[in-house]
């Protein structure tokens, strides 16, 4: 019997050593395979669909408390897929959206992946909507970080032509520590686009009252100044329209609005902000910009409006039309 016992324990030992050897060889194989794999990284376009992307809820269930590393794994996949000189097709964008969805479901406290979605998911309205959903998740988890708000607002404004939403998001962001000073102005500009300068002005004044520190106040003041000038410019626009009705021709110079048999205006409003100290005044004037035939103050040199590339603008308008059509069909 003892001989058998010793034999059994020796066999156990042998099995154990074999098991270890197997494990070691397996890991080594994995290591080598990975090294080879990483030396020749697949093209991102080709890698689309290479990795099984689980349903985020299921992934959360099966990661058994190891959500953070599984999240990291899919994050590295996302970086690989988007990296290099790869044109992001709408399909690849959607794939990235799935990856980031898993990444941020498994570990909602990640930081950069939310903005990664904001940067890369721009190829279709669907992708932008996905990006916005992810950004909102990021805002929920990092409510004090202005950057996710900023990207979300930008998406609403730039890709979806939803200025009201954009302004709303940016207003939220502008209150946060570390937010850039131009955010309130941007929000206000969005409001001006929706022709609600009055609201933007009130909003900025409110922010100005609550602002901490001179730098912040200064940024609110300058935004208010721009709105003041824009309001005056619109007043002049109105006068110009009536001038055309009365005279049957357009103005040559802005001065013409104060001249003639019945001057439309007693005097031109100041082309410079009223808060500007006398020492900084530099004799700006109202002119008709020859490039777009609009009335501008030489103080700013252009009207108060965000610059939007035509191609994107067209695309966005196209989506807006599609959306209207869909809604019409829905009704």
């Amino acid at each position: 019997m003892p001989v058998i016992e010793e034999g059994a324990s020796r066999r156990r030992g042998a099995r154990f050593r074999q098991g270890l050897l197997g494990l070691g060889v397996g890991l080594l194989g994995l290591f080598v395979a990975d090294a080879v794999h990483l030396r020749n990284p697949p093209l991102a376009g080709e890698s689309l669909g290479d990795v099984f992307v689980p349903d985020p809820a299921v992934a959360g269930l099966v990661s058994l408390g190891f959500g953070a590393v599984v999240s990291d794994f899919y994050w590295l996949q996302a970086i690989q897929a988007a990296g290099g000189d790869v044109r992001i097709t709408p399909e690849l964008g959607a794939h990235l959206g799935q990856l980031i969805d898993v990444v941020t479901t498994l570990n909602p406290w990640v930081d950069h992946p939310y903005r990664f979605a904001g940067i890369w998911l721009t190829q279709s309205e669907q992708n932008v909507r996905t990006a916005n959903r992810l950004l909102r998740r990021g805002i929920e988890k990092h409510p004090d970080d202005w950057r996710n708000h900023y990207y979300l607002g930008f998406n609403h404004f730039f890709y979806l032509l939803e200025n009201a939403e954009a302004a709303e998001v940016l207003e939220g962001a502008s209150r946060l520590a570390g937010a850039p000073r131009y955010l309130p102005r941007l929000a206000a500009r969005l409001k001006s686009e929706s022709a609600d300068l009055e609201v933007a002005s009130v909003f900025l004044q409110e922010l100005l009252r609550g602002a901490q520190g001179e730098a912040a106040r200064e940024s609110y003041r300058s935004a208010l100044d721009e709105i003041e000038i824009e309001q005056r410019a619109r007043q002049l626009d109105g006068a110009r329209v009536r001038f055309r009705e009365l005279e049957g021709r357009d103005i040559e110079t802005v001065d013409e609005l104060t001249r003639g048999a019945t001057p439309l205006l007693g005097a031109l409003p100041s082309p410079e902000p009223s808060s500007l100290p006398a020492s900084l005044r530099r004799g700006s004037e109202w002119i008709v910009d020859p490039s777009d035939n609009r009335i501008v103050s030489t103080y700013y040199g252009k009207r108060y409006q965000l610059h939007v590339p035509a191609s994107d603008r067209e695309r966005a308008e196209g989506w807006a039309r599609e959306k209207e059509l869909r809604e019409a069909a829905g009704r």
């Binding site: 408390g65 990291d72 970086i79 690989q80």
Partner: protein, 259 residues
């Protein structure tokens, strides 16, 4: 009571001695430390949040390998003693079965805590070398991993007290997996339309350990607050659950024929 301690302690220290003279432990420890170091390489693939990824992988490795060690040493804990008949001479001494079982439990617990300490040290060294943040949150996370290990060791002890190593490994891994699922299953169950399903989900959640209670590694890595009260409740929960498991193990082990 002190008499019991005098008998439990030699069994426990002997169990530690057996484990530390076992090669498997060093192998797993080696892999764990390698993984923690390997994290630096993996993290370099990401252009942002590299330190966070290093720490994610580091803490996950610690949890994975320490649970691995707990299970693979724990499953044969009692069975090996019966199988090799070393238990005969011990129980012929004035040692009760409860004392023997507790001695084995504490011995294994000390072993896994010891290697948790070593892995934690490797984690700290790697974090320092890459300049990743370190604060008390990490200590709390590692401490709660230790409490989770206590529960896992108790689960392994329970199954080992009446089952073969193979089955024990299967059961203990199952409990480990379900323990990390139980909270989600509970929430899923509560959404069910049927009343009995909701009740079953609640019952299951009460019976199974909720191991996510001990998982604050994400909070640690992201610098989120880990309230002391939360840690204290987790410890209390772990202790209560462990006590329940060990009581059951002792009850079963007392009634068992040691053939």
């Amino acid at each position: 009571m002190t008499g019991s301690l005098h008998r439990i302690w030699p069994i426990a220290t002997n169990t530690v001695r057996e484990a530390v003279r076992h090669r498997l432990l060093y192998t797993l420890l080696f892999f764990a430390v390698t993984m923690i170091g390997f994290a630096v390489l993996i993290a370099s693939l990401s252009y942002v949040e590299g330190e966070r990824i290093i720490q994610d992988i580091g803490l996950a490795s610690i949890r994975l390998f320490s649970v691995g060690i707990a299970i693979f040493v724990g499953i044969g804990l009692i069975h090996g003693e019966v199988d090799r008949r070393t238990i005969y001479t011990i129980l012929a001494k004035p040692v009760t079965r409860a004392e023997f079982l507790l001695g084995k439990f504490f011995g294994l617990l000390l072993t896994v805590w010891l290697q948790l300490l070593l892995m934690g040290l490797a984690f700290v060294l790697v974090s320092l070398s890459v300049g990743a943040p370190l604060d008390w949150g990490y200590a709390a996370a590692l401490f709660l991993v230790g409490i989770e290990l206590m529960v896992i060791v108790a689960v392994a002890t329970l199954f080992s007290s009446f089952s073969t190593p193979m089955l024990s490994a299967f059961f203990t891994l199952g409990i480990y997996a379900l323990g990390h699922l139980s909270r989600n299953l509970y929430f899923l169950g509560q959404e069910a339309e049927v009343d009995s399903v909701r009740r079953a989900a609640t019952l299951l959640y009460r019976v199974l350990p909720d191991l996510e209670t001990f998982n604050v590694s994400i909070q640690a890595v992201h610098g989120l607050p880990i309230p002391a009260s939360e840690v204290a409740w987790a410890v209390l929960y772990g202790l209560a659950y462990t006590t329940a498991l060990l009581s059951l193990a002792i009850y079963i082990f007392h009634r068992r024929d040691l053939e």
